[in-house]
Symmetry: none
Subunit: 189 residues, 4 copies
Amino acid sequence: MTGSVAPGRPRSESARVAVLHAVDDLLVEVGYSAMTMKGIAERAGVGRMTVYRWWPTKAHILVEACAEDARGELAVTAHADPVRTLTDFLAGLAAFLTASPAGAAYRALLGEAQHDPEVGRLVADADLLGAPARVVLDHVRSRLGAVPEDRFAVAELCGPLALSVMTGAPAPARPALRAMARRLATAWA
Amino acid sequence: MTGSVAPGRPRSESARVAVLHAVDDLLVEVGYSAMTMKGIAERAGVGRMTVYRWWPTKAHILVEACAEDARGELAVTAHADPVRTLTDFLAGLAAFLTASPAGAAYRALLGEAQHDPEVGRLVADADLLGAPARVVLDHVRSRLGAVPEDRFAVAELCGPLALSVMTGAPAPARPALRAMARRLATAWA
Amino acid sequence: MTGSVAPGRPRSESARVAVLHAVDDLLVEVGYSAMTMKGIAERAGVGRMTVYRWWPTKAHILVEACAEDARGELAVTAHADPVRTLTDFLAGLAAFLTASPAGAAYRALLGEAQHDPEVGRLVADADLLGAPARVVLDHVRSRLGAVPEDRFAVAELCGPLALSVMTGAPAPARPALRAMARRLATAWA
Amino acid sequence: MTGSVAPGRPRSESARVAVLHAVDDLLVEVGYSAMTMKGIAERAGVGRMTVYRWWPTKAHILVEACAEDARGELAVTAHADPVRTLTDFLAGLAAFLTASPAGAAYRALLGEAQHDPEVGRLVADADLLGAPARVVLDHVRSRLGAVPEDRFAVAELCGPLALSVMTGAPAPARPALRAMARRLATAWA
DNA sequence: GCTTAAGCGAGACGGTACGTCTGGTCTTACT
DNA sequence: AGTAAGACCAGACGTACCGTCTCGCTTAAGC
C-alpha cells in the first residue's frame, strides 16, 4: 500500500497551464531570444520562483508546451500507395515547419540545441520529428523493400525539408513534395 | 579612379584579425551562448567599441570568421563514379558538421538563424553548404539523368546528415554514407 | 467570569519555546540581519505559519525571548555607599551590553527601533534598561539629594555606556566605571 | 612626476550627487529599511551597477551623504561660561537627533551598526558625534579641571541624550538641557 | 465515541530586492 | 578618425525571503 501523499500545498495546475500558454504566445509575439523567464512569469501572472521551481530554462517549458501539438500535427493517415503516404507526411511536415506555432517552437528548440548541449539532449529525448516519422516508415516498409534503418530513414525523410526551411527557403508546393516522395520511394524500392 | 583616401586613422587590421581569432577560439572553448561581445573584445585585447563599430552581432563576426574555412573543408575532387563523388562529399560534410571548428560555427549560426531573422538572411546569403554542394551536383548531373533542380537537390544531399547531426546523432560511418550516396544515385538516376 | 474555553486544538507550548530558543541561538550564530522568519521556523522545527500566527516580526519574538533574561542580569544588590551601588550597576550594564546574549538582543532591538517605529514602541514599552535602573535610582536617591527625575536620571546613568558600546568601544574596566559612578554621585549630590 | 591619468571615461560627478540626494530624500520618505539599492538607483535616475560600483551597501552611501551635514549641525560657538557652551552643544545635539534629516541618518546608521559589524566599523570610523563633541570638550577643559579622557567624556556628554532619543523620548526642553549641562560641569569641576 | 474547530507540519503561491552580468552607448586621452 | 579603457543606463539573470494560501493530520473539549 503506497498510499503516501506528498505533504504541503499541491502544485497549482492553473499556474502550470498559464505558463505553457504564455510561452506559446510569447514565442510568436516576440520570438525566442526576446522571450525571457521574467517575461514568461509576468505574462502568465505567476511568480518567477514558480517558473524556476518547475522548469530550469525556457527551452524546457517550450518542449512541454509544444510536444503535444507537434505530435498531433504530424500524424498522417496511411494509404495503400506509399508515395501518397510519404507525400502527405511531407506536406504536413512542411506546414508544421513553416506555418505552425508548434513548428516555430521546434525550430527554435533545434536552434538552441546547437548552442546548449543540455537543450540538445532535451530535444533528442523528445524526438519530436522522429516519433511521427517512424509511424510513417513502419507503414511504407511493408510496401517498399529497402527502407534503411530508422535513424537514416528519418533523416532522409525529414532532413531535406528541415534544412531547406531552416536556411530560409519557403515551403515547397505539393507537386514538388510529390516528386520528392517519388524519389524517396525509388531510392527505397 | 577615386583616388580619394579616407581621412583620419585607418582601420586597424591587427584588431580585425585579433577579433576573428578570438571568436574562433571562444566558440570551441566556451560555446556560442557563453561567447559575449564583451568576452570577445577582452580576449582579442581590443576595445568593445571597436568590435561594435565593425560588426553588429557576434553572428556577423562568426560568419566572417568561418566562411572561408567552411568552403575549403567541403571542397571535393570529382570521380568518374558519381556514387564515389557523392560519398566523398557526404564524408566531408559529416566531418565538417561533427568535428570541425568551422562546422561548429556553421551549426551555431544555423541555430541562431532560427531565433533571429537577420542572422537567417546572413546565413542564407553566405550559402555555406549550398555553394560546395552545387559544385558536386554540377558534376554528377552529367552522369545522372534526374537530379532535381538545385534547391531540392542541395536539400536532399545535405539535409539528412544535417538534421541527423543537429538532433544529436553521431556522424555515420563510411559504409552507411556510401549506402546513402547509392540511394541518392538511384533516386536521381 | 468568562469561564469559556477556546474550542479546537490549544496552542502548542512546545512550538512556542522551540521558536524562542531558535531565536536565541540564531542571534548569536548568524546575527540579527541574517536571522529570517524562514530560518527561525526551520531551526525550531516548526511551520512558518505557526511563527507568523503568534508573532508579527522577528523583533517581537526577540523581545519575548530576551526580556526576562535582561531584567535578571541587570538586578543589583544595594549597598550603603551609593558610589558602590552605582558602580555595581554600571559593571552589570557593561557586561550585559558587551558580553550577554540578552544584551546582544537588546542592542539589536534598539537598532531595529531606529528603522521601524513599531519596534520603537515595543522597546519603549518593554523598558528593559529603565526598570532595573529605576530600582537603583530609588535606592541612591535616599543618599543623594539631587538625583534628577527618572527620565533624565536613567539616561544619565545608562546613556554613556550604551552609546559607548553601540559605537563600538569595548567595555570599560572596573576602575573607569568607579570613576564614572563617582562623577554621577558628585553631579547628583 | 605623477602626471598619470586614469584611462577611460571619468566618473560622473552628476551621478554621484544624484545618488546622495536620492538617499537623503528616500530616508525621510520611506525610512531606512524600505530604502533599497534598487530604489535608490531608480530615484537617482542611475543604473544599478553604477551604485554598486562605488558603494557596497546603502549604509556606505548614507555615511557619505550625511557626514558633512552632521558636522555642520553640531558645531557650536564657545562661550566663557562652560555651562553655556555645554548647554548650546546639548541643544544642538537634541535638535540633530530628533529633527534633522542628517540626525535621522545617524540614528539609522547607529541602528544598522547593531546588526552588521561592518557598518559598525564604518560608523566608528566616521566618528560623527565624537568629532564635534571633542571640539567642545577641548574648550571646556580649560575651565573645568576634571574632564575625563575623551572616550568617556564624549560618552557622558552625548550618551544620555542619544539613549533617550533612541528609546523614543522627545527632545528635552532648554531648561532641562541647562540642568544637565550644570550636572556635567559639577561632575567635571 | 463522534463531532467540531483550531493548531500544526509542509510546501507551493505571487511578489520583490538582492548582487551580478551583458548589452549597447558614451566620453576620455592617446595614436 | 580610429583606438583602448572604462564608466554610463538599462534590464534579465537565478536566488532568497517575504507573508499568504492550501493541503492532510493532530489534538482536545463537548456533545
